[in-house]
């Protein structure tokens, strides 16, 4: 939204036209109810059942909080939560720092900037499966190009199975996510940087501000909101992501890359839908801690509609 507040009255509303907006929203709303809200409620219900597709339907019944009790005593659950946490923190902070750096670099006037901006978006356009697979191939312990480069540079003596060793697998996956996520941050931060009015910098320069002061007093306050939104969206997105990890390591080796989302996916694939629903509900509760502040924030900024 530009500076115009658009507080103008919308086109005159007479009583009989009151129905129109509801009719227009109805198709989308009904769709969302059928495919999002009802399934979400069903997930809650299933988490209270011994829902397993290997059983016959008549054996499926409510078992109270048994699933939740089982999950809380499940070592795999706690380990996967821990891994998810490490992954989210490392991924999002590295994505942010590198994305910020690239945005600052691209926020200069030079020829071909538009092209570079578009090109730098490519990792974002590519399917997650392919991202996982490309990196799996590049990390390969026998024929991988990363090994070759590291050995040629003399950093490594021998080829190393990055994804085959539990010690390095999670970190390797994290770096892949960082690569995939840089463009998103670059995009958001670049747009924010470009929205800062030039006069502010000129005024700061007249007042004798140096580079660091300009950064602290002008740039950061101006892009704070956009950065916060991007960070929250990314946290949710990374925590939910299955495709990249699953196609790199399938959660292995020795569960080293089994994040909570991957664990849920594996349990669902194993047809244990009740248990995986329970895990999914818990993931959602954890993510709510991030999402609710985001929603409150978005609502506030929507105030001036």
């Amino acid at each position: 939204m530009r500076k115009s507040k658009q507080s103008r009255k919308p086109i005159s509303i007479s009583k009989d036209k009151y129905l129109w907006p509801y009719l227009l929203v109805a198709p989308a709303l009904i769709t969302i109810c059928c495919i999002v809200l009802i399934p979400a409620v069903k997930a809650l219900v299933m988490s209270l059942q011994n829902y397993d597709l290997r059983y016959s339907p008549k054996d499926i019944h409510f078992i109270g909080l048994d699933n939740y009790r089982a999950v809380l005593g499940d070592e795999f659950f706690w380990n996967s939560v821990w891994r998810t946490l490490i992954m989210v923190v490392l991924c999002v902070s590295l994505q942010f720092l590198l994305g910020f750096a690239l945005a600052v670099l691209l926020n200069r006037n030079f020829r071909g900037r538009g092209v570079l901006r578009a090109v730098s978006m490519i990792p974002w356009v590519v399917p997650g499966v392919l991202v996982g697979l490309i990196w799996r191939w590049m990390y390969d312990g026998n024929y991988g190009v990363i090994n070759d480069i590291l050995v040629k540079l003399g950093i490594f003596q021998h080829y190393y199975g990055f994804l085959a060793q539990p010690d390095s697998a999670l970190l390797s996956v994290i770096l892949t996510y960082v690569w995939q996520g840089i463009p998103f941050f670059t995009l958001m931060i670049l747009a924010a940087l470009q929205s800062v009015p030039h006069e502010l910098y000129e005024a700061a320069a007249i007042d004798g501000a140096n580079g660091a002061q300009k950064l602290m007093r002008v740039t950061i306050p101006a892009i704070k909101n956009s950065v916060t939104v991007s960070l929250m969206l990314r946290v949710i997105w990374v925590a939910n992501s299955v495709d990249v990890i699953f196609n790199m390591t399938e959660g292995g080796p020795a569960y080293a890359t089994q994040t909570l989302a991957v664990y849920i996916y594996q349990k669902a694939k194993a047809m244990n839908l009740g248990y995986s629903s329970t895990l999914a509900v818990l993931l959602m509760v954890i993510l709510m801690c991030v999402a609710i502040p985001y929603m409150i924030y978005s609502f506030r900024t929507e105030e001036d509609l």
Binding site: I11, I32, A118
Partner: protein, 278 residues
């Protein structure tokens, strides 16, 4: 005050850093392309070659002749096109109502669409699987179209909201003063103005549907499999057929890349608008 030489040094440094970033971001694509045209002997040879000594398109041919890749492409295309069309219509109507009308419950409904963006994929995956089984649509394209709409629809309502808010209402008002009714104003004035934004949104939806893996892997079978799932099946018990896999990867990203480059300007505007205005 900075001297010009210092400024120039800064420019050169920035140029080097940008180049480094670009190499980092682009190299993996170069690498899949190179891998896809290397003959097998070179792929699994003792030396990693950065430029293939022999170029072969054997993997591409095999992909279409023995792997039936065209079928998976067709599946992906059907799902992506139908998802794009339905989402676009539903989202446009809803976003139009949100931006051009004021009505009780508007805020609540907008909030509903907004918070749908927050739903974890994996939370919906499980009940959707069970529900689609009950409805008998499991393993059909319909299952995937419905599943993809769960995330494309809320997002596009939000995206289109942003576009419509920035489109002045005055033209439609003028048309109505000139004797158009609201329907005519919508069709003859609003839609033509919105066309570039609709194209950008459509490209976004298409990309999401084309690229999706998690739902597709659970809700499709050998017949209704999409490209992303098919690629994964090239990882077999006997190891990975990297040449075919990368060839398939190249084929699958080319269409979305082309679409993205045509729509990128508008799309980037739309995606960043929400964040910037804060």
């Amino acid at each position: 005050m900075k001297s010009t030489s210092k400024k120039r040094a800064g420019g050169i440094l920035a140029g080097i850093l940008i180049a480094l970033f670009m190499v980092l971001l682009i190299f993996p694509f170069y690498w899949i392309f190179i891998t896809s045209v290397k003959p097998e002997s070179e792929l699994y040879g003792a030396v990693v070659t950065y430029w293939p000594h022999h170029i072969t398109f054997q993997a591409y041919r095999e992909l279409f002749e023995s792997f039936n890749f065209i079928k998976y492409m067709k599946n992906s295309l059907i799902v992506a096109v139908v998802t794009t069309c339905t989402t676009l219509v539903l989202a446009l109507l809803a976003a139009y109502a949100f931006c051009r009308f004021r009505f009780p419950g508007r805020k609540f409904l907008m909030g509903l669409f907004l918070c749908n963006n927050m739903f974890p994929t994996v939370l919906l995956l499980i009940p959707l699987y069970a529900i689609m089984r009950q409805w008998g649509v499991l393993y059909t394209p319909t299952a995937l179209i419905l599943a993809y709409t769960t995330f494309t629809l809320p997002f596009c309502v939000w995206l289109l909201n942003g576009y419509i808010k920035d489109t002045p209402v005055s033209l439609e008002e003028a048309a109505q003063i000139d004797g158009c009714n609201r329907y005519q104003a919508f069709m003859k004035v609003f839609l033509p103005i919105m066309k570039p934004c609709l194209v950008a949104t459509g490209v976004y939806i298409f990309m999401q549907a084309w690229n999706e893996y998690t739902y597709a892997s659970l809700l499709s079978n050998a017949d209704s499999r999409t490209i992303t799932v098919a690629l994964k099946t090239l990882i077999g018990q006997l190891g990975v057929q990297w040449d075919m896999l990368t060839a398939g990867g190249i084929i699958s990203v080319v269409p979305v890349c082309i679409m993205f480059f045509f729509a990128q300007k508008r799309l980037i505007e739309g995606l960043t608008a929400g964040a910037v205005k804060g």
